[in-house]
Symmetry: C2
Subunit: 463 residues, 2 copies
């Protein structure tokens, strides 16, 4: 019987607890959760604000009762404050402020990440009470919900145009708010090449969102008529005002607990773990947004994603009770729906691949999601990245309308990346076809063939 | 400069011609086409009869002008009658009946398949004029179209409930006809296990189709009030009458031309080819529904599919002009939309796998296509087949509503089969996730985990 303590009630921690209980029903599993909302789908919060998900309780992947029914014990509203590594004891502070030490045989830490403030001045004095929000926890969700209900703000500035920023632009727009979206880089959704980001830009602009790119936010101030965001735009000052500001500029790993215990920090300031999720501290495992990510093409990096947290947590939970699991590695697969478009990506783009020592070439192409003669066909726009030297697939980016099965087409590329396939091999795959849902050469293969044809043309031209 | 003659204007022949012209613009490519409709999407014909595809010309993947613009020459309404193997000459009979010999350096034969008659008596005297149809060519399509327009039949019997039979049941129903669907086996869509075929049965029955399984058709007769189909049902005679009969009971390879030239016939009576699409006859290549299929899990079999014909044709075209391509192999991926359901499959089922020497176990499971809290989630029903000994993925069958991205989820399994992944490895794949389109563990992974959990349970139980 293993006494397994787990810190963190989100993806990594709960996945670890579920896996441990699944494999070893004798394991005594205690999960220490900082708030009262274990196993909530943080990725679903934007859809609470669009009104598509109601009530907020339905955002729970599993209820606390579901979790406890698996035999794990939940310690809610309890903060893990210190690890006594040698003594194998976890110090926690409960909801009533009392401090206690939990003895453990094995410990899994999944403390996740914290919202980044991107060095913006003025945030010490500004929070939900002043209409300045972040969105990372159910607490943040309730604060924003309350603010929207009480003040009925007519306008919002969203700082950041990544996945959550774009989803929240849709949510605020759906609520009838005027939205200004500020983005540091040259185009929205910077995890895609700007050629495809531009399609997302057009989509949100077409729904009335004012998009301002190339804008670095310096400070936020509260004034008599609302909040003022001060920024640099192309080297010149620019100010924006609105009733509400939402900061969604990324996250930083929450490493305090493990760092104090002596864990080593690595890529992105995250806790270094091996592919078995060992921290190097005896009997301490870690997983999720607080730890480094093993990437199949990049080696060790920092790439916090819910899917990865689930997988890392599962590995940590299995190994903590004596298993031999290994995190297979991320390929950076991501997808987002923005109004009527879906954008997906997996693997590397040119700049990532070059930095990692590859010789990438990216080729753009367009292919219909299904046979054009059947009603409802729409083009999917691809950017395929492959290695010029050996022809290996390095990455793929896709944008298409909702309904064009972009998300699961990204998965074909992701699976091919796991398999280490060349781009030519994509044409060999026996993919499904029926006219309402595909083509004899699936769109994925049309894009792969376009890449291969351009490579052949370059070779013939002696480039 | 290679003089390349190609027999057949459907998937295999045209794919060969396109590939040859793409890789070698000096190749002199002549395609001999038996009718006037090269490069038609035969898979699209049912959607012409639903009314979704109009006019019939839009069923062309490419027009004759598109094809000729690539530099190939088309000889339409021309029948290839004999191959002089030693002399490298192809005898053809043109539209005016004149016989001619075409000299070639290399020959690709893609004569496809012919509709099977399944040993049904009476068919010698019954054809489109009598209201008895098959559906394999544009000629068949026009004949059926004319019959529907002229006689306005109120009822149809469809013999066969495979892909085309089910699609045509939908088409006739959409036209207001009363449809009786006769199926030899115990359940419709016999390429899926009956547990999933039953869902398709329910779907078509729910749309008014009368489905009669376990029924072997013996003969068809024309009577004063319509056509009578005589059958055995559970050992007892049964008769069915209707205004029209459509026979869609599969195909047999059309091998006459190559067999007379001395080609060897193998699996399913199809022409034996190697993975380079060589027939063994000097300078003669073959591809498509007339040749055997190299299957990644079964070895050599006969499995005529349009996707395979495209790939084989591409290989034949490349090799005929001196290339070194190789058909990577089929895994039997297929998908069909039937009213509001989509059914897909790839790889092997229990009986196929057992016959091929595996030790298969199939596990059923259900997983939502996306997070249930987001509107529009629907369950996908899975049957995953894996090898009990080593845990390798052998096959997958999925049924879900149209819109649940079943087709592209089948592709994840198909790609994993090409990669030779174990079922546990499916859980490791970095698949895409956003709440409107998936789950942190995609439905594909939930199904894989269900299989793995049952295997673990059997091992614990000592089964």
């Amino acid at each position: 019987m293993t006494r397994l303590a787990i810190v963190g009630g989100s993806d990594a921690g709960i996945s670890a607890a579920l896996r441990a209980r699944e494999l070893d029903p004798s394991a005594e599993v205690t999960v220490v959760v900082a708030d009262a909302y274990p196993n909530y789908s943080i990725c679903g919060i934007p859809y609470y604000f669009t009104g598509e998900v109601q009530p907020w309780q339905s955002l729970a992947h599993r209820t606390a009762a579901d979790l406890e029914a698996t035999g794990m014990r939940l310690r809610l509203d309890t903060l893990a404050t210190r690890i006594d590594v040698a003594g194998r004891r976890l110090e926690v502070r409960g909801p009533d402020g009392s401090v206690e030490e939990l003895a453990y045989d094995e410990l899994v830490v999944g403390t996740g990440a914290l919202p980044s403030h991107a060095g913006i001045a003025g945030l010490d004095a500004l929070g939900p009470e002043q209409g300045v929000h972040v969105m990372h926890s159910m607490g943040d969700t309730f604060a924003l919900d309350r603010d929207l209900a009480e003040r009925q703000p007519a306008s919002a500035i969203i700082v950041g145009a990544g996945y959550v920023g774009l989803e929240m632009a849709e949510a605020f727009t759906a609520r009838g708010m005027r939205v200004t979206q500020l983005q540091r880089g040259p185009e929205v959704l910077s995890t895609l090449d700007p050629e495809l980001g531009a399609l997302i830009h057009e989509e949100i602009a077409g729904h009335g969102v004012e998009v301002v790119t190339g804008t670095v936010v310096r400070a936020i101030e509260q004034g008599p008529t609302g909040l003022t965001v001060m920024a640099d735009r192309a080297g010149r000052p620019a100010t924006f005002t609105a009733d509400l500001v939402l900061l969604v500029v990324g996250v930083r790993p929450n490493t305090e607990l493990l760092a104090e215990a002596g864990a080593v920090l690595g890529a992105g300031g995250a806790v270094v773990v091996d592919r078995e999720m060992r921290t190097g501290l005896p009997h301490i495992w870690a997983a999720g947004d607080g730890v480094v990510t093993h990437h199949l093409l990049l080696g060790t990096t920092y790439l916090p994603l819910g899917t990865t947290s689930h997988k890392q947590g599962r590995v940590a939970g299995e190994n903590a009770i004596g298993g031999e699991a290994r995190f297979a590695g991320s390929v950076g697969t991501q997808v987002v729906k923005v109004f009527d478009l879906v954008a997906g990506r997996t693997g590397l783009r040119d700049q990532d691949a070059t930095a990692a020592g590859f010789t990438p070439v990216t080729v753009a192409s367009v292919a219909d999601d299904h046979k054009r003669y059947y009603p409802g066909a729409h083009p999917i726009r691809f950017r395929i990245t492959g290695d010029e030297r050996d022809g290996w697939l390095l990455g793929a980016q896709l944008v298409g309308r909702h309904g064009t099965e972009v998300a699961k087409r990204v998965d074909t590329f992701a699976t091919a990346l796991h398999a280490g396939f060349s781009i030519e091999q994509l044409s060999d795959l026996d993919l499904s076809y029926t006219p309402p849902l595909g083509s004899p050469w699936d769109a994925v293969q049309v894009a792969a063939q376009a890449w291969a044809a351009q490579r052949r043309a370059r070779a013939l031209a002696g480039v």
